[in-house]
Symmetry: C2
Subunit: 216 residues, 2 copies
């Protein structure tokens, strides 16, 4: 059994000690550091080198939303398991887009916590089933009425087509030919996609598109 090093950040010391107590019986999981603020975490991460981070969203200094972005940049290999009491599907998708590997509600039973940590550590993901389902429902509704821009950024029909072709490894030139539009137009759509999905390049585009269900 491989040991899993974790770090915890949560603004309530009580919750932290609760988590530590829950995790203590599971010897394969080692808590390397606990923090009550984003600043403290960023300091401690350097020496802790955890595999998994339990992250609360509501923190005193920086929001977990911004924090996860910073962390993912600095430690791409670190898996982030969001552990929060915010049960909004929109928050799930938001955090997923920022690269978390799991989303768990506080109050989940301890064995679920263990399962989630192990899943996340093993390269999988664990999303609170209820929220996952709601997210999916939102997505369905979005598909039926493209007006309800709740979760997924609203892409136009043309943009979706271009996105599919990008994912199919076509170049902009080829996409243009295939859709009978100018090269410039195809490039426009491509740029708009990158803007709308808030990514930096094709790699991010594909990754995010898959994460939010625009691609399979």
């Amino acid at each position: 059994m491989q040991t899993i090093n974790i770090a915890i950040v949560d603004d309530h010391p009580l919750i932290i000690s609760g988590l530590v107590a829950i995790l203590r019986p599971y010897t394969q999981i080692v808590v390397r550091g606990t923090y009550t603020s984003a600043a403290g975490l960023l300091e401690g991460l350097k020496k802790d080198c955890p595999d998994v981070l339990l992250l609360d969203i509501l923190l005193p200094d920086v929001s977990g939303k911004e924090l996860i972005t910073t962390i993912r940049e600095a430690y791409p290999a670190l898996r982030v398991l969001v552990l929060t009491s915010l049960d909004m599907p929109s928050m799930v998708s938001s955090m997923l887009r920022r690269g978390c590997s799991g989303y768990l509600l506080k109050g989940a039973p301890s064995n679920t916590l263990i399962d989630a940590i192990e899943a996340v550590h093993g390269g999988g993901e664990y999303i609170e089933p209820k929220l996952k389902e709601q997210l999916f429902q939102n997505f369905l509704r979005f598909k039926e009425h493209p007006r309800n821009q709740i979760v997924v950024p609203e892409l136009t029909q043309r943009e979706k087509e271009v996105l599919a072709l990008i994912a199919a490894e076509y170049t902009t030139r080829e996409i243009a030919d295939k859709l009978f539009i100018s090269y410039y137009t195809a490039e426009n759509h491509r740029n708009n996609l990158i803007q709308k999905l808030d990514v930096k390049n094709t790699a991010g585009l594909i990754k995010v598109a898959i994460q939010i269900g625009l691609l399979s």
Copy 2:
């Protein structure tokens, strides 16, 4: 309830009529065309415009493996549900890599078939649970013993690191700096990844890596 247009290709006419009979009670599913060969399918696809394609792998003229590649190129929006009697995990991963959205064994109960079609049509996927599990086990074994190159192309440690950074939207220059290696080395790894995963560019790299579980 949205209607789902499907096409079927299978070398046995009996299976086709069986499928049609199974699907008839489900009025939301409309069979637009049935074919017993790849050539026939490619002809008929033009006018059928189905949403979902039920695809057998063993066909008289072309293997389903090659066929799916062709189809995905020509109709990126078309969802392919593989329906076969080949219960090899390696075939599942192979077809997934080529862009199918589902993998079902012949002999699955009819409600499973319906579920799969609807899942696939709705942007999801449906993989025969048993095979999915086996695939996952293979993957685990692969992780423990990097020697068993059964399903997933064997990536070196360094390549995995580079892959993760590519997915994190870093440029080659940034990856090189981050790993303390030369720009050329980072680019080598990038090129090797593209070769090993048999893709054409970064878009394909990310997509395939996610599909086969190298990225989340």
